[in-house]
């Protein structure tokens, strides 16, 4: 048999070609009566929300009442997860910050990055994996390592 091939799929690298914003939808919920919604109600009437929506045409923006509860912002993401932030008693500028936080998130669970490997790569290292059989061989003399 001559050379055969293995079928695999290519993997996406978001941002290498096109960048797909991971936030699909933002829901803004407010209440007409509760005082904790005061900031949210001013935010929804201010030009801030319109400017935010115009700057991000790739995000669907839903605004709906949620009576007798605190106001929230809910972000829905491409990976199917959602993130909710309660914005009770916040000013409109603070609410905008929270909306931006949800916009920038990718929907993954917040996890601690362990092991110091904060940057990963799909490509092989240019220098290759170190192996003991190549390059200058070393000798250990006493407590010193000397190239032989």
């Amino acid at each position: 048999m001559p050379v055969q091939a293995i079928r695999t799929t290519s993997t996406a690298r978001n941002g290498v070609g096109a960048f797909i914003l991971q936030c699909k939808r933002l829901d803004f919920h407010y209440c007409d009566h509760w005082g904790s919604s005061k900031g949210m109600n001013t935010f929804l009437r201010s030009p801030l929300i319109a400017r935010f929506a115009a700057a991000h045409p790739q995000i669907q923006i839903h605004i709906s009442p949620r009576p007798n509860t605190h106001p929230i912002i809910r972000g829905l993401y491409i990976n199917g997860r959602e993130k909710v932030i309660c914005v009770r008693n916040l000013e409109k500028e603070q609410i905008l910050q929270k909306a931006e936080l949800l916009r920038d998130a990718n929907g993954e669970k917040v996890r601690r990055m362990k092991g110091g490997r904060l940057v990963g790569s799909l490509n092989e290292s240019v220098r290759g994996v170190w192996d003991p059989f190549h390059g200058g061989n070393k000798e250990i003399i006493g407590d010193r390592i000397v190239s032989s």
């Binding site: 001559p2 050379v3 293995i6 695999t8 690298r13 797909i20 045409p57």
Partner: protein, 436 residues
């Protein structure tokens, strides 16, 4: 190279369409705006679809009884029932869907691609059988474009790739599984069932019944039904459908991925009724999500090409398909690499390859390591390490073969760049794999 006149060829796709049910629509779903009267599938933006265009048989002198519109205005329920008669959403609704325009913006589609066409790309033939309203024609065009761009990108970057590996690379870049993944990564949602009342931003297809769903009234699963059970006939004989031909004939007679084409153009030319039968079967049985997503991505590629031109289509391809990561060296599977290497050396006129130990450690221990190099005369072709001499030798041969097959020129020119206004330069394509 002379550029093709796109608009002249794409006229049939870009013109407004109607169908009998649109007339039902016209009579029942009266609306003061003439635009809402008939169903436009079209690809030119709505405001250019002239408001003068009329679907009815009224003489130009006659006037429509406009006051009736307001008296007979349909209620919300009536509208919904009329809409639900349509197999796929009305093109007019494309501009009302936030989901659709968000998708348009998310993919950074060229502004010349209207929302109506994006909505049409999302309608699978299994949802709407009418070829004027589903994405079948666009997806045929997109399939060919994807095949062209991917094959030239792969072949010009790796001119010595074996044919089988070339097929696998094509499959990895634009095969159905990858396109289905792309659809998911774009955030396209799928409608539970197609229909006229559905938001046009959803991918619409009729879902095929799951194989492990139980058939009503019986305890049998769908996949175990006698009509679906696999034929115990055994391997197909020479000339029968399903018979695997050699690699070189597959480059001519198969699809882009080296798979057999079930229905060729010739089949359809001989028996034109086959096309309708196939469509009917699809409509009754439904399709898998993978098929529907594949058709969607292909159709979108075709639509970008028709509306925005070659440059935009190539940029779209580069941004979404070519930018994906694929390690070519992991696509190879050698059965007898040492034999392949000696045949390759004979073909290329090198001296026959010899394996020599470069270094070793722990020969008598339980974990020895040997480093073996494959040499043709004085040139080292490859090197490999393993815990036995044979393993190291085979790895060295594989390394040497991959080094040959994965050669990539420094400057890559693809033939289609001439079509987009660049200079045409001939590309080097090598002989491919050795025949053993």
């Amino acid at each position: 190279m002379k550029a093709l006149r796109l608009l002249r060829r794409s006229g049939s796709v870009l013109s407004p369409r109607t169908r009998p049910c649109c007339f039902i629509h016209q009579t029942q779903y009266r609306n003061p705006l003439p635009l809402n009267i008939f169903r436009l599938q079209s690809t030119a933006p709505a405001q250019y679809q002239s408001a003068i265009e009329r679907e009815d048989d009224l003489e130009p002198g006659e006037t429509e009884p406009t006051e009736d519109f307001f008296h007979n205005a349909p209620t919300q329920e009536e509208r919904e029932s009329i809409l639900s008669q349509l197999p796929s959403p009305h093109p007019q609704h494309a501009h009302k869907s936030a989901r659709l325009s968000a998708l348009h913006a998310r993919l950074m589609l060229p502004p010349r691609l209207p929302l109506e066409t994006l909505a049409r790309c999302l309608v699978d033939p299994s949802a709407d059988i009418d070829p004027h309203f589903n994405n079948s024609s666009l997806s045929i065009l997109g399939y060919d474009l994807l095949g062209l761009y991917t094959s030239e990108a792969v072949l010009c970057r790796h001119p010595r790739l074996p044919t089988e590996v070339m097929f696998a690379a094509m499959w990895a870049y634009c095969g159905p599984k990858t396109l289905a993944a792309i659809t998911r990564e774009w955030g396209v949602e799928v409608a539970a069932a197609p229909g006229g009342e559905v938001d046009p931003g959803y991918l619409q297809c009729k879902h095929i019944e799951a194989g492990n769903a139980s058939v009503e009234g019986t305890g049998v699963q769908v996949k175990d039904l006698p009509i679906l059970a696999t034929d115990p006939k055994g391997k197909p004989m020479l000339g029968e459908p399903g018979w695997r031909r050699g690699v070189s004939s597959r480059t001519v007679k198969s699809d882009h991925f080296g798979d057999e084409i079930k229905r060729t153009v010739l089949d359809y030319a001989e028996r034109p009724e086959l096309r309708q039968e196939d469509l009917q079967r699809k409509l009754e049985k439904g399709v898998t999500l993978e098929t529907a997503s594949t058709n969607f991505v292909r159709a979108l590629m075709g639509a970008v090409y028709l509306h925005a031109g070659k440059k935009a289509a190539y940029n779209f391809f580069k941004a979404h398909i070519l930018s994906r990561h694929l390690d070519f060296s992991k696509l190879f599977e050698f059965r007898q690499p040492t034999r392949d290497l000696s045949r390759l050396c004979a073909r290329e006129g090198f001296e026959s390859p010899v394996a020599r130990i470069l270094s070793e450690t722990g020969r008598k221990s339980r974990s020895p390591v040997f480093v073996v190099g494959v040499f043709a005369g004085k040139d080292k072709l490859g090197e490999g390490s393993g815990s036995s001499l044979d393993e190291a030798r085979i790895r060295a041969a594989v390394g040497a073969l991959k080094g040959w097959y994965l050669y990539s020129p420094l400057e890559v020119n693809v033939p289609s760049q001439a079509e987009r206004g660049g200079n045409w330069e001939p590309v080097m394509v090598d002989g491919g794999e050795v025949v053993v």
